[in-house]
């Protein structure tokens, strides 16, 4: 039914091996032979069989696995986009999965994906189970950990420091004269990276003598809703705050909506800062104070680091992709 190399070989009057060489763009055949083989392949509607190719050859195929915390995150959509563009241009295929911020789910996903003998893996975050680390070591495939930078990666790392993001925003808010600072977050399951931002943020404030006066962490997904109700809860408590740092921009925008709904002026009555650099945040009536994360660039850099390693080119193990604090107009 489906044509294979043998069929092409017969049609072109050569051996299977020659067809294989021609179709993979190798050498060792005449232009005439190449033409006959290509013609036969086209006429027979040959569809290459990468399963067989990957099986027969002993080196890695063209499959790359990527695991993100949530497929529904706007930021990771851009990271995926960056990875996909870079990889598909180079002939690699992307296999994706989501781990819901759970290292155990990540391990389960990896256990599945390595049965396909991927050429490489891209993981999000630096927190993995011991089982994952063993698995990756024995899989002997290149691994890029993205998003949260680690100075001692399993293999390679591309991203930035969430701790530093929080610290930088803390300093910025203090410089703007805000010193009664609140935080509203949402650590769905165990978003360690959001937690790292909070740590850096709180540590900076404490060192400056103005520790956090209020902190509300919802057990919810970090969405507009959560920001809205999170701010409501925070303001309902006794603590007086003059600025609130949110887990991300979506929550910050939700918070702004709440502030507006109760007549609080931003930034006069209340400062608001987010994180992430959502498009929406830059076109709001007042541009949101936030940290812009170069999502697509991270994806692209991760894919390129992986491919460089696959091709045996030298590459650096740790690639820093810097974030940028956008002062905005809400603080």
């Amino acid at each position: 039914m489906k044509a294979n190399l043998e069929d092409i070989a017969k049609a072109a009057g050569v051996s299977k091996m020659t067809v294989s060489r021609v179709l993979r763009g190798g050498t060792g055949f005449s232009d005439d032979t190449r033409a006959r083989v290509v013609k036969a392949a086209k006429e027979l509607d040959y569809v290459p069989n990468r399963i067989a190719a990957a099986f027969g050859s002993h080196h890695r195929g063209t499959l790359v696995g990527m695991c993100v915390p949530r497929l529904t995150s706007g930021l990771f959509g851009h990271v995926l986009d960056g990875v996909d563009r870079a990889l598909s241009r180079l002939g690699y295929q992307l296999m994706i999965g989501a781990n819901n911020h759970s290292a155990k789910e990540e391990e389960a996903w990896i256990r599945q994906v390595i049965t396909w003998r991927p050429a490489g893996l891209i993981l999000s975050g630096r927190t993995h189970t011991p089982g994952t680390v063993d698995l990756l070591r024995s899989a002997a495939a290149p691994v890029v950990e993205i998003w949260d930078l680690t100075t001692s990666p399993i293999d390679m790392s591309v991203g930035f420091s969430h701790f530093d993001c929080g610290a930088e925003m803390g300093q910025f808010l203090l410089r703007r004269g805000r010193n009664r600072v609140g935080y509203v977050g949402a650590l769905a399951r165990a978003d360690v990276m959001g937690a790292a931002r909070l740590e850096g943020f709180a540590a900076t404030l404490s060192r400056a003598g103005h520790p956090l006066v209020a902190c509300e962490i919802l057990h919810d997904t970090p969405s507009f809703y959560a920001g809205y109700y999170g701010l409501e809860t925070l303001l309902g408590s006794r603590a007086k705050v003059d600025v609130v740092y949110f887990h991300n921009d979506e929550m910050a925008i939700g918070g702004m909506a709440y502030a507006q709904s109760v007549g609080l002026r931003v930034p006069e009555d209340l400062g608001i800062a987010g994180w992430g650099g959502m498009e929406a945040a830059s076109i709001l009536p007042r541009r949101l104070t936030t940290t812009v994360v170069p999502t697509t660039a991270i994806g692209k850099a991760a894919a390129e680091a992986l491919v460089a390693r696959l091709k045996g080119e030298p590459g650096q193990d740790v690639t820093v992709v810097p974030t940028r604090l956008e002062p905005g107009a809400t603080c």
Copy 2:
């Protein structure tokens, strides 16, 4: 990582075939044999090789390909999530790609992905090149077309009618007493589905005797920015409008930001309607008038239809997942 069935067989004192049967949960062996095989497999850290399995068996593997217009779309993030959850639970792997609203890029992607002999494919939209149709027919894999419903699918279809979405919104706006209607869209490359909404919308208005009085279609991605500047351009023209229908919610929110920036009251001075059902749209100071699309449900339904077909269970070829018009407070 080196262990294979042969190694396990030797360690357990049985044949390779028996190991294969045990590990796949078949029958034809004693509990004692099973225990020995499982123990040996665990001790040797056996990692199954799906490449070899897919190659050796003549039926389809557990790989599912999915192609979306854009990975950066918030809506498709949710669709992907729905698909991924449903598929990974059933032991399938997801291979993704983006076609940037281009049927030619879709064909190129399919040409790549079928070399992996996927068990099934999920495509977005109903517009495909002739080459794609041939390819799919010869691949003989189940195909689900999602997002825009088609009554004559290549194989299966899950979604709703974009034309009807536009028509419904047109009727709604007319009932609300708006009759000087504008439209702001962004047909990046060739977003046929957005175009279908516009068609349904414009046709309904025309039939009611109040055709579109202004229409601005940007050649840009349908983002907040595009909505902001699109509305600016539209209002800069001579035509007076009392309501504007946007390509999607992101653009509508951008439009609201523009309206607010020039002192236009919504909905008093200008009505605004979107499409999609973004989370953000429901928490804005005024809840956006829009069409809520059950994104996750579509993804889930698509995955389930595909798996049902793969298992040979009877399923319907066309599954309608209805949208819901959310009246909101901006019209």
